[in-house]
Amino acid sequence: MADLEQYLKRISEHRVNRRGFLAAAGLTAGGAALAACTPGTGGGSSAAPTAGAIEDSLFIYNWSEYINPDNIETYKAEFGVKTVQYDIYSNNEELIAKLQGGASGYDLACPTAEYVPGMVEEGFLAKLDLSRIPNQKHIDPAFLDLAWDPTNEYQLPKDFGTTGILYREKLTGAPVVSWQELYDLTLGKFSGKTVMVDSMGDVFVMPLKMLGYSLNSVEKTELEEARKILLDLAPHILALDSDTYQVKLASEEAALCLGWTGPLLDLRADPATADTGYSVPSEGSLFWLDTWVMMADAPHPNASYAWLDFIHRPDIQALETEYNGYGTPNSEARKLVSQELLDDPAIFPPDSVMPSLEGAEDTSGNNQRLDIWAEFKGAIGG
């Protein structure tokens, strides 16, 4: 039996926090001002000369522990920026709600790409001047010209990842590689041993992809078919849990999980749970992309441009990947990342899988989806 300290540590592991709502809200709230109090080490003398004078502070609003602290220090020393204020949000909605409430003072944020078009429409974001971000050229073309931002004017890709199946190979005996397999096992052998993250957009991926539809479908008949699959599954689901699903996998209370890659590195690092596997299901799945955006009223635009260019310098970006364990869209940085991470399909999905991945659109306004989601939640556990 795990003792409480170890348990809480596992819950609060930084990789979970990108999406863990409760964990981030409750356990890491104190870490908000990550680098705020440290004065700049390098002073102004070593800063590279630039056209516009770089302001002496930068205000980033971001997911918890999503930037390598060493990189922040390097940035401060190199550009003579005295303070980098790092505030955290635990979900995209929190970021948007804050902006809708009229918050100002932020320079940069990292929303997930599907939320960017709405933010542009609301006039929250500044157009990026790519000539001031020369390192943008390192971004893999696969992550450019996407539907979220067809002209690459507003977002600079930061990290990407997938939604997929986590499984304990010790219990399943073999990798679980498709949604159909997850469905069959949940209804059969592993009834009551499957966890799903408590996130509407991610859960809908499974039935829609099983049926061969787009995961963004808002077609009435397609959603109705998806509803049937979800209601079939509901009584066999152990938990809807975005915060501690890794704990349930570790204790073998759960054998299967529809979830994210975040906790994977930690589970594998522990000999007792080293058999944890991850697969991007063969029917296809969702890929998310977090992107840097600049606020329309950013008080420190020059420091922001310096940061955006700095963070995509290949050596710096590689350190980011090593730190946060998410895939980088920067192809030059990828060459500098350790082989171990490169070979991990959870971080860098194999080329064979890439074409089957689909980006999410913002479907939160669709009432049919919401009704199905509420019905599904109410049906779990009977």
Partner: protein
């Protein structure tokens, strides 16, 4: 001359009254501002929002429609979280009462000099974050401990506590028990012990004494405590999410879905307004029920 002498006295008196009024105003000001900013204003905002529509990119857009209410009141399935919350909160209140009343009675009448120690023990858990205390119940009730132990006893491998309504009830009672115990303790502590002795002298048994003497005296504390635990239980979100494994879908969880996932503030606001009404009706009925036949007797509720 006489009139001239009276005027300064009247002035002094008037000045004193003004000063006293000013003092009262200053003393009431913080509480008044608190209520205005943190209670009245949010309530007004929620009510206004509940008649609006979802903005294209989520949030609130001004309008005057009744759709948000019609959607909930017109569809039984959408009302399910309300009935689930109501039964959970009632169950939790009864649970707190069943544990809290004997505990408060014991501390107030039998603990003697260790009274302070017991009160301290009740308060100590508040020094730790509510979230962490709830997480620690995951370990206590988990398959590796109590859940597995009972499972072994009854010989059922699939037996579990976590993820069931029982786990949520345990969490609710645990979380809010002190709010029930303190008001009960205060009323029982002031109870005149000679009344109990008199009741016994007059031939009443233990049960009759409890029902006819102790309980009526404890009633104000009982009502206060019940309301104090019932209201937060109705809106509980964290406990069903963590201990209920997200399998118990209560109003609090429905509100999170509306505000965070659907970003439909008007729909969420309508649910919140309905929740307030459900609580008002329940609490009013409850106070009427326990006070019936006690007309003319003053009962302090809070």
């Amino acid at each position: 001359m006489a009139a001239g002498a009276a005027t300064p006295a009247a002035d002094r008196e008037r000045g004193g009254r003004i000063r006293s009024a000013l003092l009262t105003f200053l003393l009431v000001l913080p509480a008044g501002a608190w209520y205005l900013v943190l209670l009245i204003a949010p309530l007004a905002i929620i009510t206004i929002f509940s008649f609006g529509v979802r903005a294209k990119n989520g949030g609130y857009a001004p309008a005057f429609v009744l759709d948000n209410y019609a959607a909930i009141l017109g569809d039984l399935q959408k009302a399910a979280p309300f009935t689930a919350s109501l039964s959970m909160a009632i169950g939790g209140t009864i649970g707190s009462l069943l544990i809290g009343l004997p505990l408060a009675y014991f501390i107030a009448t039998r603990a003697g000099r260790r009274k302070g120690l017991f009160i301290l023990l009740l308060v100590i858990p508040f020094w730790t974050s509510f979230l962490i205390r709830t997480y620690s119940w995951l370990i206590v009730l988990g398959p590796g401990s109590l859940g597995g132990f009972i499972g072994d006893l009854v010989g059922d491998d699939n037996f579990r506590i976590l993820g069931t309504p029982v786990a949520v009830l345990i969490g609710l009672v645990y979380g809010y028990l002190p709010l029930m115990v303190f008001p009960l303790y205060v009323t029982l502590e002031r109870m005149d012990r000679t009344l109990v002795e008199a009741s016994k002298d007059l031939g009443a048994g233990r049960w009759a004494t409890f029902r006819q003497v102790t309980l009526p005296i404890a009633l104000p504390g009982l009502i206060t405590g019940s309301i104090l635990v019932f209201i937060p239980m109705m809106g509980e979100y964290v406990i069903p999410q963590i201990l209920g494994y997200g399998r118990i879908y209560l109003v609090g969880n429905a509100l999170v879905t509306d505000f965070l996932e659907a970003r439909n503030w008007p729909a969420g606001s309508a649910k919140a307004v309905i929740l307030i009404f459900v609580m008002l009706i329940t609490v009013t009925f409850y106070t009427w029920f326990v006070n019936r036949g006690r007309k003319g007797r003053e009962v302090s509720v809070l």
